[in-house]
Amino acid sequence: MDDKPHFRNVALLWLLSCVIMLPIVVFVLGPGLPPGNGSVQASGQVVDNTVLLATATPVALAVLVYMAYAMWAFRERNPEVVVDGPPIRGNASVQFWWLMVTTVLVLFLAAYGSARLLADGSGAGQGPNPIAVPSAPKGTTVLPVQVIAQQWEFTYRFPTYGGVETRALELPANTLIKFNVTSLDVIHSFWAYELGVKADANPGVNNVAYVTTKGPLTFHVRCAELCGLWHGYMFNTGTVVPRAQFATWITQQRVQYAPVTKLLPPYARTYFPQPLRRGG
């Protein structure tokens, strides 16, 4: 067994790599996860992802630095001979500290994630009884928007505007939006990724997701749960616009769709179109 201070070498290399990588990870990589920053929740997700990255980086570097060092320092220099290494079977102290550190990290991540989740919902679908309800920006009320997922298009219904249904999605800026996501047939998923919202659409279920919009932007909505043949083509583009422009738009939509709004079923959290099994 040689006398080289391997542990010290690994520790120093690890510290050095952390010092180099952490700023890169936090300042270069972090802000892009997820891209868009289109809503308060999306920005929150960027913070969460950055925290996760910052926690994971030293762990990953520990493993990588150690493995690289071990493969170099402990390689068999004379392959002709098969010589055994020292019979080290374990080290109680190392196992203990590893267990302690990883447990603390894991508990921290779970607590942090729960806290962030309960703060404003993080744009994730919370089911029919949401527990994390963000507060609306001052002077505004929450805008409920129902997302009706069907094979293979999203349509949107605005219950506070006469229950008008549209196929385009415009949202007012700086407003708390309450998405009520439901499906008419199979499982879809409403994913507006610049807004950081993802909520599955299950038939017969009202899945609520909260988003607080920020400034005007264009965002993309994609279906994120395989729903049949045209799943890949189930997408549309939405926009966040200033409040006055939204008011104009919704009025124009109500006028345009007035004939069909009379024929829609009354607004409900879920719909069960009949009959269930279609005959020719």
Partner: protein, 220 residues
């Protein structure tokens, strides 16, 4: 060559032949897609004639399924293709002969046509909205906001067309509309009436098979 080597060679050759055959079969299955039909250019824009029927023709592998067809206006031939090719940024005229009986919409929103240039003419009359239980099919291109309900033929009519190909003397509705084709690309169209009979929610089978109730719009 020893007997063992001969056996080995024969085995390898047979294996290669079998594998190639299987590969060809699977390959042909994978790329088996309906053909593409170009819209006829006219002075006013491109024109396509389509038809929707209760069941595909008898020789079709799915002859119990509803289907779209392309109708050749001059020869009257029916082609079972659902990929349409139109030039970019032009006015495209569609005339659809609808032979099937009503099924009704799953989401009544689709009973109002949208995305057209000018009105939608159903049997010559401009129509703003139809009864939600009336459509037998719709023609929709969600990516450009186009959605047209196609009302069903009267189910008590005597000369209903049960199976493709149909003739204009049989009970049908004629729906014509115009829209402006978008920029170059590949778009898809579908029917929004759950008309896949026998499938749950009506959305299986022909609704999910290209060549029947769905296809592509190739804009060149």
């Amino acid at each position: 060559m020893s007997a063992q080597a001969k056996r080995a060679v024969v085995t390898v050759v047979i294996t290669v032949v079998v594998c190639v055959a299987i590969g060809l079969y699977i390959g042909l299955y994978l790329v088996n897609v309906p053909g593409s039909v170009a819209a006829t250019p006219t002075a006013a824009g491109s024109q396509l004639y389509l038809a929707t029927v209760a069941t595909a023709e008898a020789s079709d592998p799915h002859n119990t399924w509803v289907s779209y067809y392309v109708v050749d206006a001059n020869s009257g031939n029916w082609r079972h293709d659902t990929t349409f090719q139109v030039p970019a940024n032009t006015l495209v005229h569609f005339t659809i002969y609808q032979y099937d009986t009503s099924t009704g919409l799953r989401n009544n929103f689709f009973s109002q046509p949208s995305g057209t240039v000018g009105p939608v003419l159903i049997d010559g009359k401009p129509t703003t909205v139809v009864n939600p239980m009336a459509p037998a099919h719709t023609f929709a291109i969600p990516q450009i906001g186009l959605s047209i309900p196609l009302p069903g033929a009267n189910s008590s009519a005597k000369n209903l067309c049960a199976q493709a190909p149909c003739s204009l003397s049989q009970a049908h509705h004629t729906v014509s509309f115009t829209f402006r084709s978008p920029v170059k690309g590949l778009y898809r169209w579908q029917c929004f009436v759950p008309c896949g009979a026998g499938f749950i929610q009506g959305n299986g089978g022909p609704m999910q098979t290209v060549g029947y109730m769905g296809g592509f719009l190739k804009v060149v």
